[in-house]
Symmetry: C2
Subunit: 394 residues, 2 copies
């Protein structure tokens, strides 16, 4: 008998499944093949670093989901999913990275065995880990089936968080605060970047108050000076330097749930243009938080942010946030709503976002951000509670 | 003027490009669109955690490669690629995770602008980050072009490492040794797993002897006892326990190059079946290392390993290794050769593998592995130098 350590109650998993089935019915789907690791986990509890091979969850309208993957990873499935053992199936190892056979041949046979030969099957066409080849092999093997683009169908069901999920995000947020406190303390001119990153990981994985830290879906990002123009540079062994701003984009992670938090630190005396940008950005953040209310739309947050920035002559050009929660590499966003002028999604209580108005100009950058919860009433709540400013060590 | 810190010489990048162009010519390709982040880095130097949005490198037979990605990441491109600034192009932010437009529309327009409307264009159909949707959008936007499956075309060019690359793998290997030494020291009954993982990350990123550590493409894997049946479980906050074997699969990383190393630690007095398995596995490893010679085939390693295991009544059923080097999440393998009975690829000097004969049985597991280099003469060299055994703390 294998002992399982499921993160959520049975009722929570049933709630998710019911919601997903309802969306499938609306989309006219007979079944769905879910490849996004975050969706797999959300639906079944499956957890493991095995998403580098083909695997997924088959969702059916009238029977429990099936986790399908590589034989050796079925052992992980048996240990992490809520379904009974017969709902975990593996394919032979010689399908892995073979030029003679493809895992989707095995999957297709199984789907046909379930009577789905000519079914309408949802697939995540533009989600991670459903490759172009996976699609064309399924098309070839199941010529009578209709593969329907169900990108983000499950992701949308994840938008409003349950109380159990919010409790996890709050634990992640406490870890995020600890990480930011630590780096603000440690960064000094002459300290190598990788030394600070080593402590960021250590703080994050040690966790807080008995809440162990999981790996975040994105590694720490911390470009300095002119390099801060580029939001996604990682680190190297060079020293932090006097006269440079560095932004830190980090997230604590608790059982795959995230609460990203970014702060900027200037070493020395910041130039006036950066102080001006900071003032406009903080004003924009506060306007955005005030606009982040149930009943308002995603674009209302973006527009509220944009006004003070425009007055300061700053044009961002990028979206200013995305939903957060459960995630796996390479992204801690949920890939549904985008906080930007053209997104009119209505905000609902329980939605969670990383409100992320990074400034990435041609030769400088500034990040001050908040992970937020849309409340029943009033402005958004921030998960973290740290001064909303550019920190300065002079 | 942006300062660049390229990891390799210009000659090294030109060698890679020439090799890739030769392979493209043999495959009858007019151009190639490369999405695998490892291939992008190998060809151009591009480095950044931005592979969660659509991006890639356009390889042409007669002009320098072009790095193409999201506008904000073009700033990262300008800082990390060897090509001139005009070879870095961005697409607008509102293409990101939009339901109205897709980044491949922008890419297709650009390819058509280069006169490639009816070209034969190689795409990585079964590599990470080229989604099914990316493929179908390109098909729609470029109806006269032929999209040719060029999965692993670039990966194959990476199989034989240059001296510059081997120097990086050796630095990664020194970090791997440091990580394993540290965890063997720290793991004791009653120590929480996440505390040990925190130190693994810290050791790995601090690096050794002035060689800063980068993030590995896979996080540490360390299941214990019955859970060691599942190779890809990550950690939680439970304690290490007396009477359990834990395997540790880790890798140091230096500038994206890896040298994975796995060792198993038993706390207490190991049962006889585990000692027997260890003996057979070490014998198999040594036979495999001896078979890992230039001129032999990949399957020769697998078959040499299998013989002593079979004598001990152990049937693995999984491949026992894969090429390693430069990589990004979610995998540190190169996804070309597999060390298994059906792979007859001839081994050449300069090839590097993770010889990885993990044993994952129904309720126990054991990993003792080596990252290896195929030499001009004689048996393989191991990059790390640590006792090839199951460690015991009694």
């Amino acid at each position: 008998m294998i002992q399982k350590y499921l993160p959520f109650s049975d009722a929570e998993f049933q709630r998710r499944l019911a919601k997903t089935r309802h969306a499938m019915e609306k989309a006219g789907l007979d079944a769905m093949f879910v490849t996004d690791p975050s969706n797999q986990n959300w639906l079944t509890g499956y957890d493991g670093w095995s998403f580098y091979v083909h695997q997924g969850v088959i969702v059916l309208p009238d029977a429990d989901p099936i986790w399908w993957g590589r034989n050796q990873d079925a052992n992980g499935g048996l240990r992490t999913v809520w379904m009974t053992d017969d709902r975990v199936i593996g394919y032979p190892d010689n399908y892995v990275q073979s030029t003679d056979r493809h895992p989707m041949q095995d999957l297709s046979e199984r789907l046909k065995g379930m009577g789905l030969d000519s079914a309408r099957i949802g697939v995540e066409m533009d989600n991670y880990y459903f490759s172009a080849k996976a699609f064309t092999v399924m098309q070839t093997e199941m010529p009578n089936a209709t593969l329907v683009d169900a990108t983000a169908l499950v992701n949308w069901q994840r938008a409003i968080k349950s109380d159990e999920e919010l409790a996890f995000i709050r634990k992640a947020a406490a870890i995020s605060e600890k990480i930011v406190d630590g780096l603000l303390e440690r960064v000094e001119p002459g300290v190598p970047k990788n030394e600070v990153v080593a402590e960021i990981f250590r703080d994050g994985i040690r966790g807080t108050d008995g809440n162990w830290g999981d790996y975040p879906a994105i590694v720490p990002l911390l470009p300095s000076g002119s390099d801060a123009a580029a939001p996604h540079l990682t680190w190297d062994g060079r020293d932090f330097a006097e006269g440079e701003a560095t932004f830190f984009e980090i997230s604590g992670c608790y059982r795959r749930y995230h609460a990203p938090l970014c702060r900027t630190l200037f070493l020395g005396k910041p130039p006036q243009f950066l102080l001006d940008a900071e003032r406009a950005l903080v004003e924009g953040l506060e306007a955005g938080l005030d606009a982040a209310r149930a009943g308002n739309r995603a674009c209302d947050i973006a527009n509220a942010l944009a006004a003070p920035l425009e007055r300061a002559g700053i044009e961002r050009g990028a979206r200013c946030g995305y939903p957060i929660g459960l995630s796996y590499p390479p992204d801690w966003g949920e890939r549904t709503i985008s906080l930007r002028a053209e997104d009119e999604t209505v905000l609902e209580p329980g939605m969670t976002f990383h409100f992320m108005p990074g400034l990435w100009m041609s030769d400088w950058g500034l990040e001050i951000t908040e992970s937020i919860l849309i409340k029943e009433n009033g402005a958004a709540e921030t998960f973290c509670n740290r001064p909303r400013k550019m920190f300065i060590k002079d």
